[in-house]
Symmetry: C2
């Protein structure tokens, strides 16, 4: 296969004409396909329908310690839910607070609390002139939106297949007291599907930040979301590493069952040091009497234990793996060797990250959209929605049925070709 960059102008023009013809055929198909968000498919949701039967009117809804889960109380979650999620994320139950249905909400509330009341007695961020966050890029748009909403200045840090550029992270946090945190998706990162290397985790845990209230915002969203069973990424447990490094309070770890049971009807949690959790409880007891314990109990009785979760995740993988493989196959077939795009091949998570030639992403996304295929907006994977290279596109292959997905990726590849040729011709 000849690289586009090695082709003559007339070769490229000929190709462009033929691809435009095909593109018009796609437009006539009036597609309506959505690859924009990391949503489970209907088949995946069906896997958890047993949850609807697991609690019945004949059941005793008291938990192990006798607490009636139907009534008020239990600020930080029932013990068995802490154990279940604790086992899942390798953290003892006492290091966990169970929240409501959304880990995003927990992250928002965490930032909001830092803003209004500070961290462990530190100055509330609302009283500081400047607060900054490190944002490994490309990254998760909803993280960036939270920090943007609170007026926090975001600094791009390049992601590598090993995690964020640690030389840069170390230098920045040791210099600048206004840097209060870093957004991390340490396993099967959004959007690349990269997992932090042991060295990266250790260097993060051993950071010596100028700001005493600096924290790792450790969004462990895909801890058990493997595609290939035992052939999976394993990362070091962050709270443990922080303790070993003499930084016991450095990390807030966020987790939820959103992509395990039902998104929007799962349970979320924060894991951290006892110090940090005590600090959080002081606020939490003002905010609520307690979260939904019946739903906590529902999850515990449905999954039973970590084995239950592991088995369940294998079923998710059966559905997801062919989709990820189809995307890779089509991209390889259509774009391989052309030198106009690279993409990731994750072993888990919910996304594939695609990088086009510089300056092409916005136009590719727009062309896809005009033919009825929605991808995540170009730029969304960067703070403020600004991708300095205009090259990154997040592909979310999980939601559409595989037949639709194939059509969508074929169209996507076609758009990459058309836009790349136009780019090359305009040079």
């Amino acid at each position: 296969m000849k690289k586009y960059v090695e082709m003559t102008k007339s070769e490229l023009q000929e190709l462009l004409a033929s691809y435009k013809t095909v593109y018009r055929e796609y437009q006539q198909m009036e597609l309506k396909l959505d690859m924009s968000r990391g949503k489970p498919s209907v088949e995946q949701l069906d896997l958890s329908m047993g949850m609807m039967d697991i609690l019945s009117s004949n059941d005793d809804l008291r938990c192990d310690d006798g607490t009636d889960c139907r009534n008020y109380g239990v600020l930080d979650g029932i013990d068995e839910a802490k154990r279940l999620l604790g086992d899942m994320i390798e953290v003892p139950p006492e290091n966990i607070i169970i929240y409501g249905n959304s880990s995003l909400n927990v992250m928002y509330d965490t930032i909001s609390r830092c803003y209004t009341h500070g961290v462990l007695g530190g100055t509330p961020w609302s009283r500081l002139d400047k607060v900054k966050f490190l944002c490994p890029v490309p990254g998760y748009d909803r993280h960036f939106r939270i920090t943007e909403y609170f007026g926090i200045e975001m600094i791009n840090v390049p992601m590598t297949p090993e995690g964020p550029d640690m030389d840069m992270v170390e230098e920045l946090v040791s210099d600048d007291e206004s840097i209060k945190g870093i957004w991390c998706v340490p396993k099967y990162s959004n959007p690349q599907g990269y997992s932090y290397s042991d060295e990266t985790v250790r260097r993060l845990a051993a950071l010596k930040p100028r700001a005493r209230d600096f924290r790792l915002y450790w969004d462990n969203a895909y801890s058990v979301h493997h595609l290939y069973g035992d052939d999976c990424d394993v990362i070091l447990e962050i709270l443990d590493e922080c303790r070993k490094a003499g930084n016991p309070d450095l990390a807030y770890k966020f987790v939820s069952t959103s992509k395990i049971s039902f998104p929007g009807s799962g349970i979320a949690a924060i894991a951290s040091s006892l110090n940090n959790l005590d600090d959080i409880r002081k606020q939490l007891k003002v905010q609520t009497i307690g979260h939904d314990k019946v739903n906590q109990l529902r999850h515990v009785r449905f999954f039973k234990n970590l084995d239950g979760i592991t088995e369940h995740m294998k079923k998710h993988a059966e559905i997801l793996r062919p989709k990820f493989e189809a995307v890779d196959e089509i991209l390889t077939r259509e774009l391989g060797g052309l030198g106009i795009g690279t993409w990731t091949r994750p072993k888990g998570g919910y996304f594939i990250s695609f990088d086009s030639l510089d300056g092409c992403a916005t136009e590719i996304v727009s062309r896809c959209k005009k033919a009825g295929v929605k991808t995540t907006e170009a730029g969304a994977t960067y703070p403020y929605g600004v991708d300095p290279h205009d090259s990154n596109i997040r592909i979310a292959p999980t939601y559409p049925p595989i037949s639709d997905l194939k059509v969508a990726i074929e169209l996507f590849s076609l758009c990459v070709k058309i836009v790349s040729i136009q780019k090359l011709l305009s040079r």
Copy 2:
């Protein structure tokens, strides 16, 4: 019955001695009774057990517009949940946002948002030197704790059986730009069970506050929580009255199903003007992808409509009414005519408010506790936990079985007598 104040010192001393003997007998019973919080009883919780069967694995969990309630999405609640709660609180569905499990959490988030981002483009409260709230007293301790947590200065406003002292409210809010809100429990108030008169509601709706971001924090916690069926309190609908008074954005109305279905596993909501809701959605979309729609659907399918809720609340009333009546009977029998205490006789809600002689409440609560009966802490019904008269005690008769409740109130009455006599003797 002779009033204590009219008795001679020796008469009082004789009484005291005999009551202390009885008190020691109570202490030997090793009671462990809790009248401290407004929790439904086990019998009441059992009323909603049908909820556990209403969704099964054979059911279609899509809502009317086709949305799959199991997946991500629908920021502000499914339409049918808005209709159900809207009918319950006399507000059109478009004026409602459905939240998670706790209206307290919604109130906290509302204050927090005002603090970090202001109201409708106004200055965030974090940037103001002083923010104040009006607090009708006695009132709900968890309201006061939220405002205290955000450093908001609380001003006591006396409650009357018609609602807060409106002359004082009108004068204060028209004078002082730092007054940003008033906490209201307009129906079956906590702790008195008073309901605001039409005149009070109209005067509140017609307020002309100096602060443009002043709001009525309208906690309609007991809107359908009647004890005597049709013989119930009716209050004017606040959003409607605000609109009529030319103050369409003045009220945030909070509501939940906590004491209808399961506390902690219900659904909560805010109702307000379209302007206010648009303002709120700007924040909400940063905070979450959406709340628990499966639980929203569960509530809709269980209650079906307002009639379903009304019928359900009658069953609650059957359980609660004898408890409220037992409290009143015992207090009347034991304390009637003695001139050492007054109490309310609400037609709904969750509490009875008791007022002792000045300077006795703390000691009464403490004596009860020492004999194994827990009531709400003295002072809790006032901002900062400070009751200037040390006279108000909130009685929560809902949770204990009626036999326990009777014992608890008999002991309570005894403690009132002992402490009152000691007070009179010490003069």
